[in-house]
Symmetry: C3
Subunit: 111 residues, 3 copies
Amino acid sequence: MSSLTLHPMKEIKIIINGEHLSFVTEVLDRIKASGYTIFSSLSGKGHSGFHEGHLMFNDESSLQMVLTVVPEDKVEPILSGLKPFLERHSGSLFVSDVGVLRKGHFESAES
Amino acid sequence: MSSLTLHPMKEIKIIINGEHLSFVTEVLDRIKASGYTIFSSLSGKGHSGFHEGHLMFNDESSLQMVLTVVPEDKVEPILSGLKPFLERHSGSLFVSDVGVLRKGHFESAES
Amino acid sequence: MSSLTLHPMKEIKIIINGEHLSFVTEVLDRIKASGYTIFSSLSGKGHSGFHEGHLMFNDESSLQMVLTVVPEDKVEPILSGLKPFLERHSGSLFVSDVGVLRKGHFESAES
């Protein structure tokens, strides 16, 4: 029963042009986010007009979303690392509350 | 420090058959949602059975998800615009809380 | 007006290797989740290294995300059904709060 406890974490979703993907994942790696999932070939409309996802080619120019789930104390370092980037490029970042089963999977051994 | 404040917004996810995508985006445009992201070629199971995503062709007949983030005061107009549609067609709509860094990006100049 | 009331539900996102997709959907079917949406060809980095999404072939070996929305009383049975699996395989599960317009669509007639 208590093994089904959900532990509070923060979900961060970052939507960017594919060409900037490695910048985002490098920030997550540096702050030791335990992992992330990448959604490719998205399309959308934002401040800089409509973007078409290209399913087969040119993935770099389509929109991608990076989803990561981290303990609350990693949110501020991740935002600090990404904010200057988001001010210079189009992109969006959303933070929300989630619960996870296995708390240890989202905490890195190193601080 | 205070520049990392997260401003509360509402995330709306709308899952529909691809053929109805433009109806949804027209509602979002009319209510001046600042932007949206489209996830294509989804598959799934709902009230009307299993839908297969077709990666290469027939995108119009696969499921798609539209994700938008808006200030709370735009939620009701968007729901009002989409509810009659969702009552006639299969589709789902989920609303959740998110925080964003750049509040101004989600508010349109026009009311 | 009151017809725009949002009813609280739980959103569950499960990210797994594509080869395990049917295990997850069978648990959801057994617990009578009203539906789910599958996001394919994801890539990502987690406890077992980097996974590449393969857009055209080998979908079974890429990451997939299953998204379902259920009433709160179905969360524990779904977690119970999936937890032993998640302890043996790589995968992640996140639970969050969402609101939905049509409560009845997420409740099954059978208990």
